[in-house]
C-alpha cells in the first residue's frame, strides 16, 4: 500500500518536473534576444517543411471528410425533408469541430513526429552540442523557428481543411445527390457567423498549434539520444499531442459554445 502511494507520488513528481522543463525550454526558446533577420529566414524554411509539405495530406483528408459529411448529412436530413440545410450542417461541423481537431491530429502525425525525430537525431549526432560549443544557443536556433513555424502553419492548414471540406460537401450534396445549389450555399452563408464559428475555430486551432508543436519540440529536445529513445519520443509526441488536442477540444467547446 505504502509502495503504491509512493509510486503515485514519484510519478506525479516526475511529470511535474517534465512540465517544468518543457516550460523552461519553451520560454528560453521564444523569449530573449535573437537575431531577427536570420531567425525569420529559418522560420520561413520551417514553415515550408511543416506547413507546405503537409498540404497534400490536409487537402485530401479535408476533401474526403467533407464528402462523407455531405453523404451522411444528406441521408439524415432527407428524412426530415430538410436537405437544403446540408450546407449549414457541413460548414458548421467543419468550422467548429472537425476542421481544427482533425487538422491538429493529422499535423501531429505528419509534422509533429517529424519535428521530434529531426531534433532528436540532431541531439544524437551531437549537432546540438556542437552548436552550443560554437556559441549558438540551439534553443533559439533550432527549437524556436520550428515552434513558430508550427504555430503559424496549423491555423492556416486548418482554414484550408475547412474550405476544401465545404467543397467536398458540395461535390457530394449538390453535384451527386441533387441538393439545390442555391439553397446549399445561401444556407451556409446565412448560418455561419464569423465571430461565433470561424473565429472560435481559429482560436481552437491556434491553441492546438501551440500545444502540438510544443510537445513535439520538447520531446525531441529532451529525448534519450539513442535509436530506442528517438522511437519512444516520436510515439510519445503523437500520443500526447492527440490526447491533448481531444481533451482541450472538449474544454474549449464547453467554454465557447457551452451556453448556447
Amino acid at each position: 500500500m505504502m509502495n503504491w502511494i509512493a509510486g503515485i507520488g514519484r510519478s506525479t513528481l516526475s511529470q511535474l518536473s517534465d512540465l517544468g522543463r518543457a516550460t523552461l525550454i519553451l520560454m528560453q526558446a521564444i523569449f530573449g534576444r535573437s537575431n531577427v533577420g536570420v531567425h525569420w529566414r529559418l522560420t520561413i524554411d520551417q514553415i515550408h517543411v511543416v506547413g507546405v509539405l503537409s498540404l497534400s495530406i490536409i487537402i485530401v483528408s479535408g476533401l474526403f471528410i467533407g464528402m462523407v459529411l455531405g453523404l451522411q448529412g444528406y441521408t439524415i436530413l432527407t428524412d426530415y425533408g430538410s436537405e437544403q440545410a446540408l450546407g449549414q450542417m457541413v460548414a458548421l461541423s467543419l468550422t467548429r469541430e472537425l476542421g481544427p481537431v482533425v487538422t491538429a491530429l493529422l499535423f501531429a502525425g505528419r509534422a509533429g513526429s517529424a519535428l521530434t525525430a529531426e531534433i532528436g537525431l540532431m541531439k544524437a549526432t551531437e549537432q546540438l552540442a556542437s552548436l552550443e560549443m560554437i556559441g549558438v544557443d540551439p534553443l533559439r536556433r533550432v527549437v524556436a523557428p520550428r515552434f513558430w513555424a508550427g504555430v503559424i502553419s496549423l491555423p492556416i492548414l486548418s482554414l484550408i481543411f475547412v474550405s476544401v471540406g465545404c467543397l467536398g460537401g458540395a461535390l457530394v450534396g449538390v453535384s451527386w445527390l441533387g441538393v439545390d445549389s442555391g439553397s446549399f450555399w445561401s444556407n451556409m452563408q446565412a448560418s455561419v457567423d464569423f465571430s461565433d464559428d470561424v473565429f472560435n475555430g481559429i482560436i481552437k486551432s491556434l491553441v492546438f498549434a501551440v500545444v502540438v508543436t510544443w510537445i513535439a519540440v520538447y520531446q525531441g529536445y529532451d529525448l534519450v539520444p539513442t535509436s530506442e529513445g528517438i522511437a519512444r519520443a516520436t510515439t510519445k509526441t503523437v500520443v500526447y499531442a492527440s490526447l491533448a488536442v481531444l481533451g482541450l477540444d472538449f474544454f474549449l467547446t464547453a467554454v465557447m459554445f457551452g451556453e448556447i
Binding site: 540532431m122 551531437e126 549537432q127 556542437s130 560554437i134 556559441g135 549558438v136
Partner: protein, 264 residues
C-alpha cells in the same frame, strides 16, 4: 601560474545521477601544448571536456579557462568564452542539411560581420589546411567518416580559437586516416599556437604527439606529466593501463557481490 596553464581544474566533484564520476579531480592543461587525456573507458574523459566547455557544471570545485571560472559565468559570457574554444566531436557533428562550405562558414556567419567574399576566402583556407578544399561543395553525407572529422576540424578552427578539444578523434579510422589526423593535430597545434586537448583510447598514437598527459582513473587523476615520465612510471595503475593487462588496480570485474552469494 595562469600564464602557463590555459585550463585549471581544482577539486572538482561531479556526479551523474548517483554515480560519482569525479571525486576531487585536480589537473591543469599547459598553454600552447598538446595535452592527452587518457584513461579506461567510462572514467568520464568526455565529461571533462564538457565541464571545460561549460556544457556541464561541477557539483563543487572550480574549472578555470584562461583565468575565467567557467561554472560561474553568465550565459552570454559563457557563449563568448566558447568562441575562443573549438571542439571536435566524436561523430564530427556536421550540420547535415548544410554543405561542407556552409558548415565551415557557419561560425563565421554567426559571429562575424565579414562579407561573403572574405568568408569564402577564410573557408577555403581552413579547408586547405585540412586538405579538403576539393570537397567544398559536397554534402556531409557524401564524405567518409574521416573526411567528416576533418571538415569538422576546419569548422572548429574557423574562428581561430585559442584552444581546441578533440573528443576521440581517432576512433574507427583506418591507419592512413589515423596518420592524417595525427599529423593534422600536431601541425595545427604548432602552426596556430593552439592549446590542444585530446581525449583518446588510442594510447600509443596519442602519446606520440602529446607533450603532456593526464590519466584519469578511479574518479581522480592517476597520473599527470610528460609521456616519457609516464612510460617510465612504476605506478601499478599506470603500468596496467600502458600495457593493457586485463587485471590490476583497475578491475576486470564490474563491482558485484561475491560469486558464492550471487549463485546461492
Amino acid at each position: 601560474m595562469t600564464n602557463e596553464a590555459f585550463v585549471e581544474i581544482k577539486d572538482v566533484v561531479f556526479r551523474r545521477d548517483q554515480r560519482v564520476i569525479y571525486d576531487g579531480l585536480t589537473a591543469s592543461v599547459p598553454r600552447g601544448k598538446i595535452t592527452a587525456i587518457v584513461g579506461p573507458s567510462g572514467t568520464g574523459k568526455t565529461t571533462l571536456l564538457r565541464l571545460i566547455g561549460g556544457q556541464l557544471k561541477p557539483e563543487s570545485g572550480d574549472v578555470r579557462v584562461d583565468g575565467l571560472s567557467v561554472q560561474s559565468l553568465k550565459r552570454s559570457a559563457l557563449f563568448g568564452l566558447r568562441k575562443r574554444m573549438g571542439m571536435l566531436f566524436q561523430s564530427g557533428a556536421l550540420f547535415a542539411e548544410l554543405s561542407v562550405f556552409e558548415n565551415v562558414a557557419f561560425p563565421l556567419r554567426v559571429h562575424t560581420d565579414l562579407d561573403d567574399d572574405l568568408i569564402r576566402l577564410v573557408v577555403l583556407m581552413k579547408l586547405e589546411a585540412v586538405g579538403l578544399r576539393g570537397a567544398v561543395d559536397l554534402m556531409p553525407s557524401e564524405l567518409s567518416g574521416g573526411m567528416q572529422r576533418r571538415v569538422a576540424l576546419a569548422r572548429a578552427i574557423a574562428l581561430d580559437p585559442e584552444m581546441i578539444m578533440y573528443d576521440e578523434p581517432f576512433v574507427g579510422q583506418d591507419p592512413i586516416g589515423l596518420g592524417v589526423l595525427l599529423a593534422l593535430v600536431k601541425q595545427l597545434n604548432q602552426a596556430l599556437g593552439l592549446t590542444s586537448l585530446v581525449v583518446s583510447h588510442d594510447l600509443q598514437e596519442t602519446l606520440s604527439i602529446a607533450d603532456h598527459v593526464i590519466m584519469i582513473a578511479n574518479n581522480r587523476v592517476a597520473f599527470q606529466g610528460s609521456p616519457e615520465v609516464m612510460q617510465a612510471s612504476d605506478d601499478p595503475l599506470v603500468h596496467q593501463f600502458l600495457h593493457g593487462s586485463p587485471d590490476g588496480p583497475v578491475r576486470f570485474h564490474f563491482p558485484a557481490p561475491s560469486l558464492e552469494d550471487a549463485l546461492s
